[in-house]
Symmetry: C2
Subunit: 296 residues, 2 copies
Amino acid sequence: MNFADRISEYRSRIDAALDRWLPNPEAKPSKLHEALRYSVLGGGKRVRPLLVYATGEALDLDPVQLDPIAVAVEVIHAYSLVHDDLPAMDDDKLRRGRATTHIAFDEATAILVGDALQSLAYYVLAADSAYDSTPEIRGRLIRCLAEAIGSTGMAGGQLMDLEAEGTELNPEELEDLYSRKTGRLIRASIMMPCHCRFDTTEQEFDRLDQFARMVGLAFQVKDDVLDVEGSTEVIGKPQGSDIKNGKATYPSIAGLEGAKARAEDLYNDAMSHLGHVGNDTESLRWLTAYIVQRNH
Amino acid sequence: MNFADRISEYRSRIDAALDRWLPNPEAKPSKLHEALRYSVLGGGKRVRPLLVYATGEALDLDPVQLDPIAVAVEVIHAYSLVHDDLPAMDDDKLRRGRATTHIAFDEATAILVGDALQSLAYYVLAADSAYDSTPEIRGRLIRCLAEAIGSTGMAGGQLMDLEAEGTELNPEELEDLYSRKTGRLIRASIMMPCHCRFDTTEQEFDRLDQFARMVGLAFQVKDDVLDVEGSTEVIGKPQGSDIKNGKATYPSIAGLEGAKARAEDLYNDAMSHLGHVGNDTESLRWLTAYIVQRNH
């Protein structure tokens, strides 16, 4: 199967799993459940679930065991977008070419959508019974996710991002911010499958973690490049919106060519760590190339 | 030891445990970590942790095993207050006699405080190593909590509360709303200790669950009564603030005396279920009486 077919198969798989886990829109309170579905099922590249499944291939894991992980990282990602888009945060009205949740519904509903999605992620990890993961593995997964998205991880990164508006950051500070805001959840998407095995060697674990760090950072640097180069139609949000918000971005501190070069370096670094990992890393390599070379 | 001493001992215990688990304010990003501590350590009756420890007494559990549960329910409670107080929600400026988090810091920080506290609760349940809870028990606890606070529980209850503003509810609808918004987390505070035992009979579990439902509802009805009767100085928020917001409350639909009678009925119902539970239910009885008879 070629890469495009494999990606499309995994995207159908994650969309079906999300649909299974999201509460029925008729369940009370239906406004919240409609808004949950609007926020999660409205498109998106599903990069984090794809990383989960591709890492699972490299580690020879059953996709059925990976479904709850893929659902968890995607609903966490959706929650972070809904909250980041709020007027008190980035105040974005457009996302994936559609009205953001607080515009399509209202601000209070958007706050509660994010809150409920975060609970749902942990619920899925703790409650999924399709695959008989040991309680020990479930505990590791929950710990890994909670650490990644908490105050020193994703939530902290968003605060640092807001604090950085209108200030000058050096590349090191910006990479620290990115590694939290975007990097930690992407890293968790790769490391959570790794926690499903009991026979991973420490060296394999470290290699994959290095790879995961590089991919997480590369993803955000590439996003910055697209924010400068892409059109609204292709990237789904107003072109240049980060610059408009006075945010420090990689191109703004290192120039567009500097940012492109950094993304390329991160890609090469990431790839160099994969040689020592698992069996079939083909999908993981394809996906990493896609992340750095995508045009939206 | 009398009840007042026992409550005071448990309050010191939970405050010490919260202090241990909340990230150091010097950890990056320090603004967020200061705001986390401000939101969690700024007083509060600690009713939910007290219910955890009192239920633990009835079930003969080691308090060391209960600490992570007490921390989890209290940080979830704190997160819910911080988000409920936001301008887009109840728009409250005063809480526990102090400025609410979005006033003391800013709105974006308050949103992220709630988000990070939710992650922290799950992290504590998954990562606490002071007591050797089996992974099986940790999984049950996380599942119980996530279900209680998600879209059909606490988060859904808050949405129903906002939707009910300016509308007429009947007592049944109001009790459904309350059982979600306040009741589910209080119920989880009682049922999570129950999940720590493998030898609870189905009958004991059901009795305790009935007790927990009644206590959760009684707590909110009593809160409504206090909102009418209490002064700002004693209850820590402007007296009558719920009525001012156009919210349906128990006194507004059943009269003040009706609300008091309902709280008393719920109290008696709750107590009737305790006869069949565990060993030493003295603290749990005291605490239930305190919840219904408190003046703040």
